[in-house]
């Protein structure tokens, strides 16, 4: 789905990630770990082309990301569900509308029933008509998750999706992502939570990638 060909990236000349060679296969389940500031968010940004590699190139859904027009990028993002670390919403729209936003901007039909069901799943049935700024930190993260999933994307990139939710809710969300993975979606979760990774390993075959010293290492099953 996404392939890195000898990619490197750095901010302001300082190398952050180097010699990335990697391909995320369809239906795979990945965890991404590493100390704070290692470059996890940066790696994910390379995956949905919010930034361009300094050298090397990325292939996203079979297309070389270097040659995508701005409209191509928009179309691509409609096929990738991203949960950003700092979940950003349109503050003037309620939760329901925010979750429906990817459908709205793509001009695709939406079913409010489906959205409500999804919101129920992440425990936000009651908050459907609240505004984003009226939500708690954990609730926002869950809305971001729901928004990423509403288009039923082929790839799900989740950046620290459980940083602000309790353990019970974390496992529930993990369960949802595992189910989606079993339906064939590719899932990448950046997280610090080792317990979450251990929990996932119990129910699905995961690969753990660790960023350290500007390199991405595949940690395999050594946890």
């Amino acid at each position: 789905m996404i392939e890195f060909h000898n990619v490197s990236y750095g901010y302001g000349g300082k190398l952050l990630l180097g010699e990335l060679n990697l391909s995320l296969l369809p239906g795979s389940f990945h965890f991404l770990t590493g100390p704070s500031g290692a470059g996890k968010t940066t790696f994910l940004k390379l995956c949905y082309k919010e930034i361009n590699p300094a050298s090397g190139h990325v292939t996203i859904l079979g297309k070389d990301a270097r040659f995508l027009s701005r409209d191509d990028i928009a179309l691509l993002r409609q096929k990738i569900g991203v949960i950003h670390q700092d979940s950003q919403f349109l503050d003037h729209l309620n939760v329901l509308e925010n979750v429906a936003l990817p459908l709205t901007v793509a001009g695709r039909p939406r079913s409010d029933d489906d959205i409500m069901e999804l919101l129920q799943w992440v425990g936000l049935g009651e908050q459907a008509y609240a505004l984003p700024q009226e939500l708690s930190g954990g609730e926002r993260q869950r809305v971001a998750l729901a928004r990423a999933l509403i288009t039923s994307p082929d790839i799900i990139l989740a950046d620290e999706p459980t940083g602000n939710v309790d353990w019970e809710m974390s496992t529930k969300l993990l369960h949802l992502l595992v189910e989606l993975n079993k339906m064939g979606k590719t899932v990448v979760i950046a997280t610090h939570d080792m317990h979450l990774i251990r929990k996932a390993k119990a129910s699905v075959q995961t690969r753990v990638m660790r960023i350290a010293n500007q390199r991405l290492q595949l940690a395999g099953s050594d946890l």
């Binding site: 949905y48 930034i51 928009a74 409609q78 950003q88 919403f89 349109l90 509308e97 936003l101 288009t151």
Partner: protein, 298 residues
């Protein structure tokens, strides 16, 4: 058919809703469009009035000049005939009429009273000249008369006409300059207001891009909004301006020297161009601003 219309309406509503109702920049655009349209109506009225003035002063003042023949009594008739002949052959002279005694009497009455013994007086002959088109060449005529009719004195009003026409042109220029200035200010304010709105909505734009919205989709929401605001504000302002102008008491006209500030006949349609122009300006400036801001996000 009806279904697709319905869908279109839903889509329209959705689209306008993706940008938050940007309270203050909205009001700012409306207010400045309205204010500028209001001022533009006045500037336009001023320009048109100045134009009318320039024409009228040009026309009226150049229309008539007079030729006075003061000569010994026995020569007056001969010289008058000679002068009339000269005038007949001068290009640019439409008519040349010798004033009769009654006319002269009317002319002098305010000074000498009605009981003027006009026949006892050695009155000069006075010829009234009406000019055609561009008028005659005063200097040439004077030279010719000096030779042929020694007692003739030409009083040709150009010394009156020139400064007045100049003044009117001056006013007209100022009106046009004001219009240009106002246009620039409108364009500037709308550009800046659009930029301010876009900057205030940077996170909204970023979020929209991240969930897969195309540039066109995002830009349209802003462009539509600012164009409509410009149009609406301009319309309200123009209307207010026109109402104010139509309520102005008409300027008393003194010898045709002044003309009322206002529109005449079909000119009343002109102010309605103002909101359209503002809308066009708003469309173009917002489009450019939106594209520029969008390009700063991947």
């Amino acid at each position: 058919m009806i279904f697709s219309l319905n869908q279109a309406i839903v889509r329209f509503k959705n689209r306008t809703a993706i940008v938050p109702p940007s309270g203050f920049t909205a009001q700012l655009t409306l207010l400045s469009s309205a204010a500028m349209a209001f001022l533009a109506v006045f500037a336009l009225a001023l320009s048109l009035a100045a134009d009318r003035l320039a024409q009228r002063w040009g026309d009226e003042l150049s229309q008539s000049s007079t030729l006075r023949i003061s000569a010994p009594v026995e020569q007056i008739d001969a010289q008058t005939r000679q002068a009339l002949r000269v005038l007949e052959t001068t290009p640019g002279v439409e008519t040349a009429n010798l004033l009769d005694d009654e006319s002269i009497k009317q002319l002098l009455e305010p000074w000498l009273g009605p009981e003027l013994p006009i026949h006892d007086l050695p009155l000069p002959a006075i010829i009234e000249i009406t000019e055609a088109g561009a008028g005659y060449d005063g200097e040439a005529l004077r030279l010719r008369l000096a030779g042929e009719v020694p007692g003739a004195v030409l009083d040709d009003h150009t010394r009156w006409r020139r400064p007045l026409v100049e003044s009117a042109q001056h006013l007209r220029l100022m009106g046009s300059l004001s219009l240009i200035l106002i246009g620039t200010v409108v364009a500037g304010i709308i550009t800046l207001a659009a930029h301010a709105a876009l900057a205030a909505n940077e996170r909204v734009i970023k979020t929209l891009r991240l969930v897969g919205a195309k540039d066109r989709y995002i830009a349209r929401a802003f462009v539509r909004r600012f164009t409509l605001r410009g149009l609406w504000g301009g319309f309200v302002g123009s209307l207010a301006g026109m109402i104010s102008i139509s309520f102005l008491p008409p300027l008393s006209e003194v010898g045709g020297f002044l003309t009322g500030l206002g529109f005449v006949g079909a000119q009343w349609a002109l102010p309605f161009l103002i909101p359209c122009l503002i809308a066009v300006v708003a469309y173009v400036t917002t489009q450019i601003a939106a594209r520029r801001v969008l390009r700063s996000f991947m």
